[in-house]
């Protein structure tokens, strides 16, 4: 896509994010953080030093992943992390990968339970 003269600055490209530490939100809800090394017109991206930040309630964990190539169709949002600000609220505690997985599983089970309970109540049609 080529733009003439003064309209060039309007082009939305990821070029200004190159070599910066970014937060990438994916369609499945995952949050990846890493340095953007490459991109293309489909928003495919190469992230170096990628880690997945898993947040469950007040607990969080950064799981290192290495070099990632992300297919653009899965990208929701690419955010530039402001290094001067805190990335997370202060009360959150960092835990190990195993513990965060346990917490994730517990949260998933709780929401599944809530779902089935709701379905049972709806069946009873109490309203």
């Amino acid at each position: 896509m080529s733009l003439a003269g003064e309209d060039i600055y309007l082009s939305t490209s990821l070029a200004s994010y190159l070599d910066k530490k970014l937060l990438v939100l994916l369609r499945d809800g995952r949050k990846l953080m890493g340095i953007l090394r490459s991109f293309d017109q489909f928003a495919n991206a190469v992230l170096e030093g990628a880690c997945e930040r898993v947040i469950v309630g007040e607990l969080y964990c950064d799981i290192p992943l290495g070099l990632y190539v992300i297919r653009g169709e899965n990208v929701v949002l690419i955010g530039e992390l402001d290094l001067e600000r805190e990335e997370l609220p202060p009360q959150m505690t960092c835990v190990s990968a195993a513990e965060i997985r346990r917490a994730q599983k517990a949260e998933r089970e709780a929401s599944d339970l809530k779902g089935t309970m709701r379905k049972r109540m709806e069946f009873l049609d109490l309203d």
């Binding site: 080529s2 003269g5 082009s11 939305t12 929701v76 949002l77 290094l83 600000r85 990335e87």
Partner: protein, 154 residues
């Protein structure tokens, strides 16, 4: 001011059996008049009505692109398909309606703690559900005229 865009649209060639590349749109800013002139090579079976539909869709894409370009610098709230709502200043937009926002803040910050330090972001066009605009951001009459012109065929 003349804005020249050239797009190549591979998805359309698959659907409509045409190869349409490149398409140049010449737009004269200030009048909101533009004459599309497109160059295409009919491929295997070029159906006239499919071609017309393809051109209309292409022109239509440009309408919202042009409209968002005029909104650059305004405060907007973008609601995504995953229910995340982000408020920010519209920095730029592109042909896919990807949006770049500056000075962003998430509407429900406590629900999305990971977004705390994000101040600028790039949002892929395909995940946008709504773009909430300031009420005085819409010149309804101008938009009506432009749309009527599209429907008539430019």
């Amino acid at each position: 001011m003349v804005l020249i865009l050239s797009l190549s649209l591979p998805p359309f060639s698959v659907v409509y059996g045409l190869s349409v590349s490149p398409i140049a749109l010449v737009s004269f800013a200030g009048d909101d008049e533009y004459t599309p002139c497109c160059e295409f090579r009919p491929n295997i079976t070029s159906n006239y009505s499919s071609f017309v539909l393809a051109v209309l869709i292409i022109i239509f894409l440009q309408l919202f692109f042009s409209y968002f370009k005029d909104l650059v610098g305004r405060e907007v709230t973008v609601e995504l398909k995953n229910d995340l709502a982000i408020r920010g200043t519209l920095h730029s937009v592109d042909q896919y309606l990807n949006i770049k926002l500056e000075n962003t803040r998430v509407v429900d910050q406590d629900k999305y703690p990971h977004m705390l330090s994000v101040r600028n972001c790039f949002i892929r066009g395909s995940v946008v559900r709504y773009v909430q605009l300031p009420p005085d951001g819409v010149d309804v009459d101008l938009l009506h005229d432009a749309t009527r012109r599209e429907a008539r065929g430019g």
